[in-house]
Symmetry: C2
Subunit: 146 residues, 2 copies
């Protein structure tokens, strides 16, 4: 087995381990917003106004899943649906002010947790690690995660 194989195995194991723990703990640490809600809200903030179908394909979720998530977020007052003038089937999703606030609050909280965990890393390691992660995830929108 080459060094590259060993590295791939480590990457697999560590990413898997992280994913499992993230899943298990997200709800406990940030009960205001689940991992999915957080992701969807974040997407809406970045590109304000998109369709449910866009979210589904971008995050490899079933449209029914998105439909229910969006329903819950709307009932919670965090997003609003506007009917598209061009296509009567389409609903365009937007963050409400309350949604922006909650999102900002959870982002602060999550960021603090990450920052604490990375507190003793030298800056250039942080930058390189971030670059690797971006490269790893790049181009995988809408796809599975291995």
């Amino acid at each position: 087995m080459t060094a590259a194989d060993t590295a791939v195995e480590t990457i697999q194991r560590e990413m898997t381990s992280f994913a499992r723990r993230a899943r298990a703990s997200a709800g406990r640490m940030h009960p205001e917003l689940s991992l999915v809600s957080y992701t969807l809200l974040g997407h809406l903030e970045e590109r304000g106004g998109c369709r449910a179908t866009d979210l589904a394909s971008h995050y490899a979720l079933d449209k029914s899943t998105v439909s229910r998530q969006v329903g819950a977020l709307e009932r919670a007052g965090l997003i609003e649906r506007r009917l598209s003038p061009e296509d009567a089937r389409v609903q365009v999703l937007h963050l409400t002010e309350a949604g922006e606030e909650i999102l900002a609050q959870v982002t602060r909280s999550r960021r603090a947790a990450f920052r604490e965990r990375l507190a003793d890393w030298p800056e250039d390691d942080l930058v390189r690690f971030a670059a690797y992660l971006e490269r790893y995830n790049a181009g995988s929108a809408g796809q599975a995660a291995g």
Copy 2:
């Protein structure tokens, strides 16, 4: 905001994104074994023979969750419970041969997915990325993931 802050934010975003996708896709890609079962089986392989409580604390899971997982794995014939001679409350968990086989098979499948995704990375980048991930996850056994 410093470069370190930016990097931390990127790390947060990319790790979160990965975790969400891993969760959504693990079942579809490797239906033989969920992410949790895979993790628990892997643990048993590395340190053959441990107690349910150990698994629970190591992976920050409730004992009831582990109890059910273990029950399912036993019913599937992938592990077996041996009663501890010292303490009648304790059951020591071991992989069966079938469990070892399934674990090896899923590991191969998952590793292939990771390898494909990382196919065009130079070896030294793989090694450095792996090292960062290990460092990131190190010491966080049994804890939340941010």
